[in-house]
Symmetry: C2
Subunit: 565 residues, 2 copies
């Protein structure tokens, strides 16, 4: 592409409402323009990137055996009534009436339409499994559209739906989709994790979110540095330490800690590391108080606590009065030693392997040193009740947990029979019996991926595209071409040669001075920049710089092709 024939429009000023890097950079690079709240025009530059994403998604869906189709974006109310979602979907559903006063919505998703298609189209188990997908514009009427195309109202989505006779078949296709999604995000050059989004209610591996790792992400994640393991931070499992609990060596000793209540205070006062202290929290359980014990450097995870059999759905801290009544001490001095039998003691896995530890004395102004489980303190149950921390062992046994944030760009889901049952979508099995189908659905936010990639990869100068998403892989820039025919000829010839070698190349023939020209190429994130200058031509070299290089260097034509090959 010759840039003079392309509408590139980088800008300096960015509206104040562009809060995050990707939004700012997409506006500055001229990839998108705002039409109205949550509605964006994709300029030629922006669309070029989005199409690259779209094509990778399509190729991998086809490779995975899905077939592409296209359903209407405008959907009749009747179908949404069948699933009850006409009301339940809420304000995000953009509703409209046609000229005959019939109700429709702009499809935010297509479960109803595809299930209607399937119940008309599929008659026999022999037609199953079937996995169909589309790449289509969707609309969700967000209350507060923001962050540019990251949370736009109109967006491009790949949505796939699979139909099955059995849950096993659904599981197989789900796994195929999991693999396809992993290939897609890998090919796009994104650091990502598939996060188990299982609600626990259904059981099994019913849902995964694919998250692109980026600081601006909305979701807090825990992930392994050496494996695909990832989870929402609230759900990440904290493994039991690999070590056994040592045998007691110290005697239980009550010590005075007159004003020391927090772990930091106690541990500094007694000269004991926080990892050797047991922190005890009393909460209201289903039947009276429950004691939760974690290591001094750990935090209670309320989501995990809520899943304990002793706990109601919403856990609540015990009041100071309750604590005083039950233990005789105030918060800050509570410990597992000598607690009333009626209080279950739930000990976190990491706290359970401590010996000779420090804990509250259940008497104001005192703690115990040399405390030991079993000998001095009951354990009702050992459980995972703490938040994971950076440096924990990964629950899959591979690598170390890192904490970070993620942007959800994909979601795969085992829907089971929910929609098929509501809408009566069944097929005849090999016995001639009508059976409700099982369904899966698999979404990818195509337009959102563009923004997520920028969040993950940018610097002060602009976007740093992964090669697969770059609008062009290579930019050929010419210095002073108007006054130097040799330069423009050499640049043109290089551009032609690169293009013919199948390398997606941009020729910057706008005749800008080097400064603004280079700034544009960096802003729009072209991975490889080649400069053609008269000085270089004399030396028989081009100046080359990868977007991520600190310095440019001179290379011969052969070296350049080898670099880009």
């Amino acid at each position: 592409m010759r840039l003079s024939k392309f509408h590139l429009a980088t800008v300096k000023e960015v509206p104040a409402d562009a809060e995050i890097a990707s939004h700012q950079l997409m506006l500055r690079a001229g990839m998108i323009r705002k039409l109205a709240s949550g509605l964006y025009t994709w300029t030629p530059l922006g669309l070029r990137v989005m199409r690259k994403v779209e094509n990778v998604v399509r190729e991998e869906m086809v490779r995975a055996g899905a077939v592409e189709m296209l359903m209407p974006s405008v959907q009749p109310r009747e179908l949404w009534e069948e699933t009850g979602r006409w009301e339940k979907f809420g304000g995000q559903l953009l509703k409209m009436k046609d000229r005959k006063e019939q109700d429709y919505c702009y499809g935010p998703t297509h479960e109803e339409v595809v299930t209607d298609f399937a119940r008309n189209e599929l008659k026999s188990y022999k037609q199953l499994p079937l996995n169909v997908f589309q790449i289509q514009t969707k609309f969700r009427d967000e209350i507060r559209p923001r962050f540019g195309v990251m949370r736009a109202r109109e967006f491009l989505m790949k949505d796939a739906y699979s139909f099955h006779l059995t849950p096993e078949s659904l599981g197989e296709t789900y796994d195929v989709m999991y693999t396809a999604y992993s290939r897609i995000f890998t090919r796009l050059g994104l650091a990502f994790r598939a996060v188990d989004a299982d609600t626990g209610a259904i059981g099994g591996s019913a849902s995964h979110e694919f998250q692109v790792l980026a600081d601006a992400g909305e979701d807090a994640l825990a992930f392994s540095d050496a494996s695909p393991y990832a989870a929402n931070i609230e759900k990440a499992e904290a493994l039991a330490p690999a070590t056994e609990r040592p045998a007691p060596t110290a005697a239980l000793t009550r010590v005075d800690t007159p004003t020391q209540r927090t772990i930091e205070e106690v541990s500094a006062f007694l000269g004991v590391p926080a990892t050797q202290v047991v922190k005890t929290i009393l909460v209201r359980g289903r039947e009276g108080l429950v004691a939760l014990c974690v290591r001094g450097d750990h935090e209670i995870n309320e989501v995990k606590v809520a899943h304990l059999p002793e706990m109601p759905d919403e856990s609540e801290l015990a009041s100071e009065a309750d604590i005083l009544a039950a233990t005789g001490a105030r918060p800050g001095f509570i410990g597992p030693v000598g607690l009333p039998e009626s209080i279950p003691v739930i000990v976190d896995r990491s706290a359970a392997v401590l010996a000779d530890f420090v804990c509250g004395g259940n008497q104001d102004g005192t703690h115990f040193t040399g405390a030991n489980w079993q000998r001095d303190a009951r354990i009702t149950r050992v459980a995972d009740i703490r938040k994971v921390v950076d440096g924990d062992a990964s629950p899959d046994g591979k690598g170390t947990i890192r904490l970070g944030r993620g942007i959800e760009v994909g979601h795969i889901f085992q829907l089971g029979q929910k929609y098929a049952e509501a809408m009566g979508a069944g097929v005849l099995d090999d016995q001639g019996k009508m059976r409700t189908m099982y369904m899966g659905c698999y979404g990818i936010g195509v337009s959102r991926i563009v923004a997520a990639a920028i969040e993950q990869s940018h610097d002060e100068a602009g976007i740093v595209w992964p090669e697969a998403m770059a609008p062009w892989r290579v930019a050929v820039c010419m210095i002073n071409p108007k006054n130097d025919a040799a330069v423009s000829e050499a640049a043109e010839s290089l551009y032609q040669a690169l293009s013919q070698a199948g390398i997606d190349t941009l020729l910057d023939d706008r005749g800008l001075r080097p400064g603004p020209m280079f700034a544009d190429m960096e802003l729009i994130g072209i991975p490889h920049r080649v400069v053609v200058s008269s000085r270089g031509l004399e030396a028989g070299t081009f100046e080359y710089r990868a977007r991520t290089d600190a310095e440019a260097r001179n290379v011969t034509r052969e070296e350049l092709f080898a670099l880009l090959g």
Copy 2:
């Protein structure tokens, strides 16, 4: 593609509301499924065809220098108010309110949005000309959606918009688009014509419709059999005959035609061909009656008559009383000889070259024979006032006029400054002066092309795709593969070899009997069918049949590849 992995669903029953061949065949072939009135799901088979069309359109637009972008489908009312089209567009505009009670519409076209984009984006004449396009889902709330995707409410359209400093620049891009459109429809294998749709009011070549020739078309066309010439039948010019008017040889003679009033009656009664009779019609002009004379075998063209300077905008036949008062005779016996001087005599070009002709006697029950212009009858003006007929010379001098019907699949339009002026879209010229831009718009109905192609090319067995639009070029069918491993292996091997040769091939591995299998392949219109059977394998041949062949024939593998290469 292996057909067993593809959701092909041909059907026998077609809903009664499918009135035309393309609608019926798209349903029978399983290309589309109706979701609601004017809303269709494109099945994998249908989408495959539509994508082929889309890709050709995109390639040729890019080749022609247009750059692709993507504007929102949901558009704010404010922009439509600026051009006055929020009201003027009428009921086809699907309006909606978002959760904040703001008004939007589902874009039926994008002049407002693109002009808004241009006025924000374009500042200098140096950025012009710019030609942008998108391929996008549109919505028009048709009063009576019908004919399947031919007149659906939701449809896929390619719309392009160009911006210019001068009308000359607009004209140049218009010509480029004309050529690009011609290439697109030629590549798609369609018989089409570009029809001058100039209203005459603006002047110049301001608008062309691209029409696919098909009997089911809504528009009556006249087109050359030997050139690209075409026009709406009402506007097609009838040339003057190449011959000069012969000199008179007969004497003007009044003959009795007591009950013969029509051309057929007079010509039979007098034994003179209709081509030697002049038919005279009296109409109300701006100032009194006007006589229109055409050859007996021709018809008056009211559109052309309405453009005569003597005529008001709406022409009207003279009443019998008026005719009698002016001529002394009743309709059926009127002729140009001896008409009052106050009545202008407008003579069609073909009638004007007649000599020794027959015409009405302006006296009930009589006609003249041997009548001649000038000698016997005044000519106020010779003009083109008749309808063209099949067999006329083409107005461009090349070939012969044929009459037929067309389906509009593309429209190119010089908008001039209409939208740019209404919305204040200007750029600075080289003098630093603000100038309103000139615009062109260029649409193609991508989904409609699919239906139009079927209307143009089908038979009793089903669709007959042009190669460029076929879902697959070749179908490899196997006979009795389950009981004959050699057949399935040979078919598989042939399928692989064809695919590797870059030939888009379908392997029908469903295991159907030959009858239903062949019927499906004919219905879905695959251009080339290859049958692998044990008998053929023994003979070292495959059975080959082009979709348009009457009979199948046996070919060797080499012959087959040569055929398909």
